[in-house]
Amino acid sequence: MSSEISVKVEYFAVLREQRGLSSETRLTGCENPRDLYHELAREHGFRLPLRDLKVAVNGEFGQFSQTLSDGDTVVFIPPVAGG
């Protein structure tokens, strides 16, 4: 039985617009960023597929399969377009 953890999610670019927020702290039963993205996508209608995203945890590029801990900050990174 997994318990809920509190994570901060920061949003940028198209995801920020679709969410209508720059960041939020939420309780979740999701164990990893993959499940968390799917949970958020269902709630907010995000249309970007996971394969187009990268993820950062606590300010570093991470893995969608890595285990999240209470207090982590998660950022889903849409395709970049600098330059």
Binding site: A13, A81, G83
Partner: protein, 158 residues
């Protein structure tokens, strides 16, 4: 995080000042200097662009950009390398990104300059939203996901 003058990557909310960045690179052993400037252009894939918004995830952008600068310093025979990328609302002709590289000899400064801009475009978490003259807008690189009429959000009074 490494942020040594003459060997750093920054995001800037203010207009980029190339002479100031170039001064960071002045070094007595440098025999060549190459720079690249990326400018906001007035069309993209056949659509006329009125303005652009760049948004960055500062913490990770400056970290990843710093890694790219460090890779350039390791992989090419160069002395210094600086890159600054603008964020915010830019107009046609504005300077969006500046890269400068110094080396003893020119070949490595050309190659490193190209390496840095190519990697920045691929890896650094910066996003670009184009506002078109026809009133539409869209985030670049994600297909039509964010296309929407902007009649409600267009800035008026200009």
């Amino acid at each position: 995080m490494i942020s040594v003058a003459g060997r750093s990557f920054r995001l800037s909310g203010e207009p980029i000042d190339p002479p100031e960045l170039k001064r960071l690179l002045v070094q007595k052993d440098a025999g060549g200097f190459v720079s690249f400037e990326g400018w906001v252009r007035g069309n993209n894939e056949g659509r006329e662009v009125e303005s652009l918004e760049y948004e960055g995830y500062r913490e990770l952008a400056e970290k990843e950009g710093g890694t790219i600068i460090a890779e350039a310093l390791r992989n090419f025979a160069i002395i210094g390398a600086e890159c600054t990328h603008r964020v915010g609302h830019l107009r046609i002709g504005d300077l969006a990104v500046w890269v400068g590289v110094t080396a003893e000899h020119r070949q490595d400064s050309f190659a490193a300059c190209q390496f840095i801009i190519d990697q920045v475009k691929l890896r650094v978490p910066i996003w670009k939203k184009e506002h078109y003259i026809d009133g539409n807008s869209g985030w670049i690189g994600i297909g039509n996901v964010s296309d929407r009429p902007v009649s409600e959000t267009a800035e008026g009074g200009r």
